[in-house]
Amino acid sequence: MISRRRLLVGGTSAGALLLGGCDSLSQNDSFRAVLRSAEGLTMRAQRLIMDRDALAREFGEADMSPVFRSNGTTMPGTPEYMRHLANGFADWRLRVEGLVARPLGLSLPQLRSMPMRTQITRHDCVEGWSAIGKWHGVPLATVLDAAGMSTRARFVIFHCMDRFGDVPYYESIDLVDAFHPQTILAWGMNGKILPMVHGAPLRLRVERQLGYKHAKFIDRIEAVDSLERIHGGRGGYWEDRGDYEWYAGI
């Protein structure tokens, strides 16, 4: 008969083994590959049950967060950014390049004169918090269509002006999200010009994914056929540096 004491001791040692085992598994490449395979499964399953253009919930004014907290970089302190900030982004241009027929350089007034979409949506951070805010911007599809995207393009990269050390922030989405009606390049927030802490002059809203996909301080959009040659090759700063999922729908 196993005594209770032996069971307790055994249970504790098994627990310690489990913990140590989990840490070494977390650092084991083949086990990580198994865990990572869930990401593709989740993406395919969610895309299967979700209409391509299914909309994220849009809220009313009364539902908005009293304070929309900022996150990530709140001030890209590079000399280039500070120069743009000082003169109200007058010389700043959004470059649209890569696999496009007509590379563009769009000024802020040009972007603001394009068709505008306003949406009050919930922003979900990967850490767990949510905030509801109002965004004003031009649908990404309008900009991509103006540039005449090649049929070879499969992803859209957003290059940002903020740096983590020497490494620039960037993000990417596929064409399902790029051409989604709520995917906008926002130049305004809560009825005002987009504030610096939220990504002035231009940020992405990609409402069916988590916050780190919503690139801020964008100055260049690139249409590509593969993510492999871009920075670390995984499609985003946090994907390269922290092993966060490229598909952040959950």
């Binding site: 969610q46 304070v67 907290r69 919930r122 951070c125 949510s130 509801i132 959950i250």
Partner: protein
Amino acid sequence: MDAPRTATGSSGLPARAERREVLRHRLPTRLWHWLNALVVIVMLMSGLMIFNAHPRLYWGHYGANFDPAWLELPPFPGWATIPSYYDLAGARRWHLAFAWLFGVSTILYLLASLLNRHLWRDLVPGPRELAPRHLWQEVKDHARLRFPSGEAAARYNTLQRLSYGAVVLVLIPLLILSGLAMSPAMDAAWPWLVDMFFGRQSARSVHFICAGLMLLFILVHLAMVLLAGPVNEVRSMITGRFRLPPERAS
């Protein structure tokens, strides 16, 4: 109701009358139990790491640092989390991969238990068992650690039915649904899901509360197994065969 099946020895005669063996747990139950012994622990521990990224809970659609939290906890210690160090991306990899095992195995188990009538036969209590007098008697017996013996031990008692039934039919479905309700893509695909919980931050709160109840269930469950005779109980969950405790003179 089916009568418990009697195990027969090689002679074809029933085993010793006072320690009759019954088929207690069918294969789907046993498989799911041991899978869950692993999966639920990984889910709880990786979930605590994810919680540590923002250890505040809110009610409603939004909630972040400037909003009132109904619960704020200090971070959970390393021995309680997977990985044991701060790694939100790593914990998400564990949690969202094991969530697939948890969800799919739950659906298969529920289907099997509908087909083999396990749900109605063993888990959902009948009106006679729910009668206050009967229930009170069982509570008193349990409190005095007088567990059913002899033939009465062949089947789940009412407290077992209530706790196992609640976990299988309420707690685990709530855990899965509230987890899915936190996914921005799921909320676009199935808006009713997040409405069920009155918002994404409420869903996160429900998810945490249910995880706490799950932990409570596991602790009580383990204590009861130890008190009721761990060898017989554990063996019955491995082989399916439970040896009835000898009839107690009452």
